[in-house]
Symmetry: C2
Subunit: 208 residues, 2 copies
């Protein structure tokens, strides 16, 4: 099904949009899984660019970081390659939570989000390399999702924070993991909370 659906997206274009290859500029297995879910099988090339943030507004931060990653990886690519960069943060009362550096920090983050709502921001940058010296086409946007977490006991917080699941996740939790037992509900895109707003990415592709 994948190949059919993927190629149909572009082959039906009258202007013969020439996307020859998709590259995911992220090491996140969740983002790869999400693209595969909707029938896209990208090559993975991880950017090692030094991240520069000039804003403290969550939506702007993730847009900046996703763009730096996508543009860094796009440099080495040939015409017709579509590079997708992405970055996710969690925000509580406007304060940004990244990935925890220790189990103690994970516990602190969980304490700050339990029993209330927070926001998850994912920035996306899509760079389509231009043909014959033409400019690249760039789409840079973000999606935000409200997530509500049930009240947790200190025992539940420590049990979770001391597991391995929170360690490589923005905000110290995985919505698609064990933490699902504490997710009361959300408003917006679930895929966005996992790390990539796939329906928005697909709709942007259609509008290229």
């Amino acid at each position: 099904m994948e190949k059919f659906c993927w190629s149909s997206l572009f082959e039906s274009k009258e202007d013969n949009m020439n996307v020859k290859k998709i590259v995911l500029a992220s090491a996140s297995p969740r983002r790869l899984e999400l693209l595969r879910q909707i029938g896209i099988e990208p090559e993975v090339i991880v950017s090692h660019v030094e991240e520069v943030v000039t804003s403290s507004v969550p939506g702007e931060v993730v847009m900046e970081l996703s763009r730096q990653k996508a543009e860094d990886v796009a440099k080495g690519q040939s015409a017709g390659t579509l590079v997708i960069g992405s970055d996710t943060v969690v925000a509580v009362d406007g304060k940004i939570l990244g990935k925890p550096r220790s189990h103690e920090e994970a516990a602190e983050m969980i304490r700050s989000i339990e029993g209330r709502a927070h926001q998850v921001y994912t920035g996306v940058c899509m760079v389509l390399k231009g043909e014959d010296g033409a400019e690249d086409v760039i789409r840079n946007f973000f999606d935000a999702t409200d997530v509500e977490v049930y009240p947790m006991t200190e025992e539940e917080i420590l049990e979770y924070a001391n597991s391995e699941e929170p360690m490589d996740k923005a905000g110290a939790y995985a919505v698609q993991g064990f933490f699902g037992r504490y997710i009361k509900g959300l408003k917006g895109s679930y895929a966005n909370v996992m790390g990539l707003p796939i329906s928005m990415v697909y709709q942007e592709m259609k509008n290229f």
Copy 2:
């Protein structure tokens, strides 16, 4: 992690709640996957009870059906067994959509949900078999989630309806599948849309 987390849930109870076994009264691989996600590994026993529906209100329908399945499977179980039954429907303007019986019916269902919002109702019935002739403890409830779907072209509708993905799903789509490219967002529990509101199930277990 599973065993620790699971047993800690009950062993910390002062009244020594004696849940010896969990049984999922459903053949749905999604429901099994969701329980495993939060650390619960149930035995699966599928009910073949004849379903009787006395209501046309979606929330009441799924509660009735989940209860019939759970009570049917619970009959043969010994004290200390917790049986979880569940049923999911999709509702558009109050009209209930079950599973499509053909690709044509799937296309009709997709046409009725594209470009707008609909509701997904999952009913849950949890039956804990009583000890020594004591009455069973029963929890019967439902959760509802609003789901918004992007506008789809007739080509997209037919491509999806003619695939195998919609065929065993209420409302003719899988939120966790290829259809994810058309899910604009939701309000409420994502797990509920997949077929089991796991956080609500977990919170109910804590209150048993």
